[in-house]
Symmetry: C2
Subunit: 363 residues, 2 copies
């Protein structure tokens, strides 16, 4: 295993070369250079939780043409953190709220994936947020049959002390006031703040959303929501105008998700068009957008980077994770992937979209 | 100028190296190898009109949010032949029908672009086919206000003698019986038969359309029409099933056009996902699909090729030509392009969609 930790720390070539012993929770970085002391390193790691995710945790009811699932593990923070965990293991923390009914298998899953759950509040006697949705035959459209906010109605995100200096922050699709509250509670400004939102906030809380956008570096949004927010039919114009709504610093990143048509990344003056992974069957698209976001930010957190080439790759990794998400129900598709499987689809996407100008074409 | 003519003929490096003198009409291929005689070559060229296009020629009324145009030059054969002419100059022939009102400026344009119009029948006293359409604000949807078939109602495609052995044949969006009639009138089977169709034929003439598909190697179709024909929500499944409807030989090519989302090329077992060119403003999308098809087939005709790498590039050239088509009204955007402008957008599309797996990514 190789990993980029923090810029100043060198990482050795393989676990077998030895190196100092780290605490159990950081054992995935076993071969750090010997020239900094164990205690200093432990302190450094404690300071640099790399990725903080704030969002919902849910037990959903999902109806698809194939099957109906009850108590399906869901919620934006769930999908984002699981996807990110493949890139930034042991350094992902979640802030959210659940009821006492949140099942042991979910806690087990977070533990197995090395996700820090100390920021998840458990409301005594409470019930976990639940969304009940039904997908149409084409799997691209769905009806919400019920939204039971339960404990999520009073969600007041509290950021644990050791989460207060993340390098990367993801604010899942929650009330824009709450998103801003999280930013204000941090000890320092993260390297990147990535935002999600939805039509409900665009239509009903636009002023607040605009204030949150002005504090953020990056936005992930659906094509229909981008058009709703910008009121222009061209996604290219919408992407450009959305960039202008972000914090006035580089990079300004907007990603417009287009479902089966892939995604557009607007990065400062650049545009990158990413293909979708060509799935013949989609079993459950729930969480695919969040999973995309988790793969995207997880990869950047791992690289400790926000440069353009990494951002393009991050979009592809997000696409790969989202494709695995859609291939099974609920979180099943992203619970137990290998990096080999992830890289297989990364390469497949490259093959799918690469072409060259022929050398002899001179007219 | 360099050009690949027929496989046996070598092409020199530049016009300045001399080479034999060809007749005026083939002066764009000035540096052919000296080892075949002029008369043999002329005979060969006369035999191999490279690209035959059958379709409509029209004088449309186009309403967009920007302007209304009357007597706008249109029709599938018009857009296809203009686009193809950039790649296969002097070797493109059109079969179609017009009335006496077909304007001199249209004949001039075809002449300037080196398009052979001897296959266009002029009906004495007749009026040219006319479509009257209105685009909505988003330019992605339109209403047909009137379709005046005029002379097109009795279109009975007659293929002139020197058009009867084309290497590449495009059958624009006309009655499937007529498409088949053209194939049957040829002296030999073209290397590639490319078909267009529409919902009208899918819904009303399905059996005939299926018979025409079985004679063809390649189909270009809209996403909504692909779903209509295959009755499956997944475009990947639709593309695969459409391939099975084509002639049982390699290659089997299906291109699903997705408008602002680009195109999917299904080529035997391969899939290629092409991005759209990111236009901020679309002035008139009329003919963009036909222009795409013209760029696609024109490039293959020029290369005298149907291999996969060329087909991928051909999709990109088609995308480039279609983007220029949308940037102005009617045919204006594709009347006077340079290869430099075409290659500019080809390279821009490559930049837009290229990414690499980072070398050091080993987890």
């Amino acid at each position: 295993m190789l990993a980029k930790l923090v810029p100043a720390v060198e990482v050795g070539a393989s676990a077998s070369t030895g190196g100092m012993k780290l605490s159990q929770s950081y054992q995935c970085y076993p071969t750090l250079s010997r020239d900094i002391s164990t205690s200093a390193l432990t302190a450094l790691l404690a300071l640099t939780l790399s990725l903080l995710i704030v969002g919902s945790l849910a037990l959903d009811i999902i109806e698809t043409p194939f099957a109906t699932l009850e108590d399906a593990l869901g919620g934006s923070a769930t999908f984002i953190s699981l996807a990110a965990s493949y890139f930034a293991p042991e350094r992902v923390g979640v802030v959210g709220v659940v009821g006492e009914d949140f099942p042991e298998r979910a806690w087990d899953l977070f533990r197995t994936r090395g996700i820090d759950t100390t920021g998840i509040e458990i409301v005594p006697g409470g019930k976990t947020f639940s969304w009940h949705g039904r997908y149409h035959y084409d799997m691209n459209t769905r009806d919400t049959l019920a939204t039971n906010l339960n404990v999520f109605a009073d969600f007041n995100p509290q950021v644990p002390k050791h989460f207060k200096s993340p390098d990367f922050l993801v604010l899942g699709n929650i009330q824009p006031d709450l998103q801003r509250q999280v930013i204000e509670h941090l000890d320092r400004r993260p390297k990147m703040i990535l935002l999600d939102t939805m039509n409900f906030w665009i239509e009903g809380h636009l002023a607040s959303l605009k204030r949150t956008l002005k504090l953020s570096n990056a936005l992930v949004i659906n094509d229909s929501e981008a058009r709703l927010l910008i009121e222009h039919p061209s996604l290219i114009v919408a992407g450009r105008k959305l960039q202008e709504m972000l914090a006035e610093e580089s990079p300004r990143i907007v990603i417009i998700k287009k479902g089966e048509h892939g995604a557009l990344l607007f990065y400062d003056e650049h545009i990158f068009s990413a293909p979708a992974y060509p799935l013949e069957e989609i079993f459950d698209p729930t969480g695919a957008g969040d999973t995309f976001m988790g793969g995207f930010i997880g990869y950047l957190a791992r690289r400790n980077s926000q440069d353009y080439e990494d951002a393009k790759r991050a979009v592809i990794y997000g696409t790969v994770l989202a494709s695995y998400c859609c291939s099974k129900f609920s979180t099943e598709g992203i619970e137990d992937l290998s990096m080999e499987l992830i890289h297989d689809r990364f390469r497949a996407l490259r093959t799918l979209s690469s072409f060259e100008l022929e050398e002899e074409m001179v007219i």
